[in-house]
Amino acid sequence: MAYVAIADRDHEIEHHAPTTFITKYIWSQDHKVIAIQYAVTALFVGLVALILSGMMRLQLGFPNSFSFITPIDYYQFITMHGMIMVIFLLTALFLGGFGNYLIPLMIGSRDMVFPYMNMLSYWVYLVSVIVLLTSFFVPGGPTGAGWTLYPPQAILPGTPGTDWGIVLMLGSLALFIVAFTMGGLNYVTTILQARTRGMTMMRLPLSLWGIFMATILGLLAFPALFVSAVMMTLDKAAGTSFFMPAVMSMGENLSHEGGSPILFQHLFWFFGHPEVYIVALPAFGLVSDLLSTHARKNIFGYRMMVWAILAIGGLSFIVWAHHMYVSGMNPYFGFFFATTTLIIAVPTAIKVYNWVLTLWQGNIRLTVPMLFAIGFIFTFTHGGLTGIFLGNVVVDLPLSDTYFVVAHFHMVMGVSPIMVVFGSIYHWYPKITGKMFNQTLGKVHFWITFLGTYAIYLPMHYLGFLGVPRRYFAMGDTEFMPESAFTLNQSITISALIVGAAQLIFLYNIIVSLKKGKDAGPNPWQATTLEWQTPDTPPKHGNWGPELPVVHRWAYDYSVPGYHDDFIPQNVPADATPATSEHGSDT
């Protein structure tokens, strides 16, 4: 039997809307509910990680002033902060959260193709989060090996949490990867198979290109982390020597022999570098749609943007060892990995140019999502450029393992994606809830976050030039560090605490607006993409009512000459008379 697209079989497929509270909100198979479950869980653990970072900054700014922060605690804080932020917040939120919510709506589908597996994905993710957080309450506490979990240190005494913490961490990661794989297969299959009529791949909004490519990267990269987690667990629990050479510990010779710590690093970064793009590509995609919508202008160079996403995704698999220039691997690798790394700067730069050129000759509405999108361009440009320092192998020599690295990766994969997360939450909040958030509070949140994070991270680069190492509980007397550097550290801490506290404004805004927000209407931003064209806001189970939408144009028909409105939704036929708008913009 010939293949018939899902969109053309819509009437044959039965859609059972959930009826009970539990099937509607708890064991839900609706992608929108699962998306919110993912997002709320991710934001919750993110809050935990934010508090941990505040504790770290307290110690760094005001060393030895707090009895509850010993070196043991400190190294546990940095480890859990890093791992939670990268995996359990950003990866889960971009793919499990935005991916789940937007994929079916943007492609004109009723749900994911495997709703049951989608539900399982969330619940396994939740278990992985619980396992991770449990490690705070076991003897010895969570692991303090650093988020990179490098052996032999990660499983030997002398590092916090080598009894239980590391095992729970590895188990939690393995569970997360199982959850991600179930979700990820779903996202890819849904985008490939469940697009509605007329929605060709080259008509997909860039949000989906970013999420699509990031998911593929995840499906290919996470297995490397999975096997590392399994092997390290065996090294720890069964005494194998995958990553363990002959070493001594606490004055005793151990029985391990012949393993390679560098092998772990290769496996870790074979996952870890694509992971950067697993977080960055969805952010690239989402921010493109934010910029285009609020600038009332088509995204500039759509095809180039798609190719850049594909090129970056592909290249991201052959740059991993730039994390290892000073790891002791064969130094001749440096030539290859520096070259591939700097090549990746080209498609990345093109994306930045195209974002800026999207604003050029636009009609820019400085809404809250737009402010965050502009903030992203600035922070990402900054973080991307400092990446060129670290990618260029010889420049990395003095800067590796210093605060320059910390500043760089926080700008590029901390602040920048978080800017997009906030911008996107504000952007889609009216669709998800039907309510408009408080614009003033949104702007206050933006300004404190944007300026505050720059006050944290710009000076931090310069501590790196001095030579101040990262992952130091305290600097003590270090001769090359002038007194002023300690003062600088205090000011960074103060900025960090202010930025951290300002996130309460965001939480307050999105929670209180659920009740008190004005009704937003179906398409408050006058956007073209399908999710804004649903018959109900918030969309009901099945999304589209009796008939699936049909797509007639790309996602960026803003300000098309000859039309009255400055946007034409994707489901408006090519020969339709210019539509008149029913909804004004409130900016």
Partner: protein, 449 residues
Amino acid sequence: MPIAIALIVLVVGSILFHFLSPWTFTPIASNWGMIDTTVDITFVVTGFVFVGVNLFLAYAIIRYRYRKGARAKYEPENKKLEGWLTVITTIGVAAMLTPGLFVWAKFVTVPEGAIDIEVVGQQWHWTFRLPGKDGALGTTDAKLFSVENPYGIIPEDPNGYDDVLVDEAIVHIPLGQPVRFWLRSKDVLHNFAVAQFRVKMDLVPGLETYLWLEPTKVGEYEILCEELCGIGHHAMRGRVVVDEPEDYQAWVDSQPTFAEIQTRTPGDPVLGAVSYAVCAACHGSQGEGLAALHAPKLSGQDPRYLKRQLQNYKLGRRGIHEDDLYGQQMAPMAATLVTDAIIDNVIAYIGTLPDTPAPATVIGDIAHGAELYVLCANCHGADGQGIPRSAPRQAGMSDWYLLDQLKNFKQGLRGHHPHDLHGKQMGFMARTLQDDQAMRDVVAYINTL
């Protein structure tokens, strides 16, 4: 509008910060000035992009801000513009990468005639080894690490016998001479980094890694570990001293070789008993210590620790702070032990004294102390018996002395001399104890071990 102004202010502010702030590269002391040059090139290229992109962004926001009735231009792509931007970006990237790769080629190629120095890292100390007159380092085996053979040198290898062993975290190198550091770890990953030298590399157990440099400025520089290696990571410090070549040679000649250490006659307790008479006046005839005279118990203590402390006193690394009154008393006493042989004898004699646990005098919250001791146990052992080549024994030793020394470490009366690197490390740890009560608690807990 405010966002456009903010972008302009941030761009201008960043440039001003770059040029006006006092924080920049620590002054260089090696041949790797070309790394700094590559950094400068990168700064110029990326700086132009940073300024260009963001000012253009700000301008676009101002010029094309929302106006009622205005309309954006519909322009899906502009192949020519995109092509040009790609070409210009590629040129910029190549301008940064090319010099970088040339400098890297220099870094991976060690010049002929570089002298070899081995760096051995362990949690959380540095030691060093130099090839002897034969110019070759003896081969090693990680399975042979022991208290007696801390470098794991294979005794059957004749090359090892004249190896010069530097059993402390201070190494000297000669000015103007290329030096290749061979890096080796006994336990976990470490990283050998000196800010003034620019270059760094990990120490990996099971591997020998290297880096090379040529020191260009006489002076003393701090070695930092820059790969997370556990709870003492930030306190794993060492020193590298750049000497004039003749000073360097004198330093090398003063260090013992592996053969000398192997064949060194152990201390003679009988001779030591004679020298100990001076010590007995305060520390007691049985080495049991005397609180009234502020002399701690010595019997049962790790001999290596006793020796290091006697040498610290003799070398002026301890007992020099004006507020460290009892340390100041001890310093001239240590000076009476004129030679290393005499020190060895005294310590051998102390080893024969009965190890009766010192009486407990410090009272505190034992449960709280137990929580605090988790940190201490990483070096001193969970049972407080000390870990050879790491940290001394505490259990059964004079508890009032432990308390005094914790205070001294915290206040910098001890461990502040740049060459007392073990002391410096302990200073880091003592400062995590917030107050005297916390110190009493931890000592009270040690009393239970």
